[in-house]
């Protein structure tokens, strides 16, 4: 049944009805960025919300109109309280998150690098990790006082455990051949940790930052809802108890902006520190 191949390759065309392009099956499963979609969706949602509020489709009691929420935000800004709330929150967030991260990375390295640390601390971390830290807040208030101490401690604890876990896992996943290479060149223990293990673990540690930062924001608001004069959480709580839903929405928008900023900063840090990745 084999047809002799013509040197000009025309014999295959002898039956023209049989010639058709090979069907393309390689599409799909690959997303490409469409930059204009997200602002359109965002503006569309606000427009729908605005339309709903003005037409009475969304009752003012259920959700204030975007204009009212914006007005509440402007009032907050003009009264000068915005900066007081935001700075109080930022201070707690930065101190709590930084301290928790430094402690978490140190303990995580210790757990990953020492057999004793692994045996002693890893089960402890596994046991305390799932406890919602907000449940410990009353205890923290007794230990550290009703002021800044207990709020910072809540955030610190909340950030500490996931950071330990992510650092520990990250160090475990560093390429063993690189460590062996370091040993074969006679590098000291501290050089291997600083120059091979830590940079090798950095990608996973940085992606752990995204999780720990969002936990920090959640705990910040929760801690500020108990006995804080200033702070975005306190502002939202006050707005809620006064049924001032426009202020509540403004507070939530500030939190959302805070979260976006943090995630943007972590993205920048990743690009700066992990430029070597393919």
């Amino acid at each position: 049944m084999t047809e002799p191949l013509s040197p000009h390759g025309t014999s295959a065309r002898s039956d023209s009805a049989a010639a058709k392009p090979v069907p393309f099956r390689g599409g799909g499963f690959r997303t490409s960025p469409i930059p204009w979609i997200s602002p359109v969706v965002f503006i569309g949602l606000i427009a729908f919300w605005h339309w709903g509020s003005t037409s009475g489709f969304i009752p003012a009691l259920v959700l204030p109109s975007p204009g009212e929420s914006l007005q509440a935000f402007i009032n907050l800004f003009q009264s000068g309280l915005l900066w007081l709330h935001v700075s109080a929150s930022l201070q707690r967030l930065v101190i709590g998150w930084t301290a928790g991260t430094i402690l978490g990375i140190s303990v995580g390295l210790f757990v990953a690098l020492s057999s004793i640390g692994r045996a002693a601390i890893a089960p402890l971390v596994a046991a305390i990790m799932p406890v919602p830290k907000i449940a410990l807040l009353p205890l923290f208030i007794i230990w550290f006082g009703i002021g800044e101490g207990s709020k910072v401690a809540t955030i610190l604890f909340g950030v500490f455990f996931p950071t330990v876990i992510s650092t520990f896992g990250a160090v475990d996943n560093v390429d063993r051949t690189l460590i062996r290479m370091g040993q074969s060149f006679g590098l000291s223990w501290s050089s291997i940790v600083r120059k091979i293990i830590f940079p090798g673990a950095l990608p996973a540690i940085l992606s752990g930052f995204r999780i720990s930062a969002s936990i920090a924001i959640i705990l910040l608001v929760a801690a500020e809802m108990i006995g804080a004069q200033y702070g975005i959480g306190a502002y939202v709580l006050l707005a809620g108890s006064l049924m001032a839903t426009d202020q509540l929405i403004a507070g939530v928008a500030i939190l959302s902006a805070l979260g976006l900023t943090v995630s943007y900063l972590i993205g920048r840090a990743e690009r700066y520190f992990l430029g070597w990745r393919t």
Partner: protein
């Protein structure tokens, strides 16, 4: 500095990996170790550099390395083992950083090894920008910068395509012709062993024992011309290994 292996025996649990290994690596010669996969040749190399300890037997260092030698036993790994976050330069300087060398001397050493491995134009490049052959050149440069007494090469060309392998093999021959380094070269590629080895240690399959030590007297630089004789050596080695390789291929791994 010579190395000598005395009655090396090694086991993981109940499984014998290597037994009764005795041979010497003399200064200025390249000793190739060949054997079927899983015969423990890479393990043997790790004993030589002190990265692992055999169950019994000892690896002896006869004579002391010259003073200029920063890291007497230096490895070149199959998968290059370059730090992806450091440039070519940075990867080489890693090997020097723990030796308290003056910065200007370190820079001079780095310039020298970069020139010797023809990498000068790539000093700022990151490993991900380099081809496999270039990466292995960087690893060779890094090994040369500590002025090793013995180079321990663990299948250094196995991760490369055959053209690159050919080029790098020529480079290694040139390098040896210029500066007669001492090396132990583990490979499963008979052609590499025949091109580079003064002495070829043929291991049997697990538990690895020495089947034979084949010596080749033809100078390294002349081997490319003497194709017929080299073919014959390769044929001879293949006959030694053939049944072992076949049997090793049929084995189940227990781990």
């Amino acid at each position: 500095m010579d190395l000598s292996l005395n009655n090396i025996h090694h086991q993981y649990g109940d499984v014998n990996i290597l037994s009764d290994i005795n041979f010497d690596i003399k200064s200025g010669e390249i000793v190739c170790i060949i054997g079927p996969s899983g015969c423990g040749k890479s393990t043997l190399l790790r004993f030589l550099g002190g990265l692992e300890r055999p169950t019994s037997g000892e690896v002896l260092q006869i004579g002391s390395p010259p003073d200029s030698c920063l890291n007497p036993l230096t490895y070149i790994f199959q998968d290059f083992a370059l730090l992806p976050w450091r440039s070519v330069e940075g990867n080489i300087s890693l090997a020097l950083e723990d030796h308290r060398i003056q910065p200007d001397r370190a820079a001079a050493i780095i310039n020298d090894v970069l020139a010797r491995t023809k990498l000068t134009d790539f000093r700022k490049a990151l490993p991900r920008q380099l081809s496999g052959g270039m990466k292995q050149r960087v690893a060779i440069a890094r090994a040369l910068c500590v002025n090793p007494a013995v180079l321990l090469m663990d299948e250094p060309l196995s991760a490369l395509d055959s053209q690159t392998r050919e080029l790098l093999m020529d480079d290694l021959v040139d390098l040896w012709t210029r500066e007669q380094f001492t090396a132990c070269y583990v490979t499963h590629n008979l052609a590499e062993a025949v091109r580079l080895g003064h002495k070829i240690v043929v291991l049997s399959r697990r538990p690895g024992t020495i089947r034979e030590i084949v010596e080749i007297d033809t100078p390294l630089a002349d081997r490319k011309k003497d194709i017929v004789a080299m073919e014959q050596k390769q044929e001879y080695l293949w006959n030694l290994m053939r049944d072992e390789a076949l049997a090793a291929d049929m084995e189940l791994t227990d781990d």
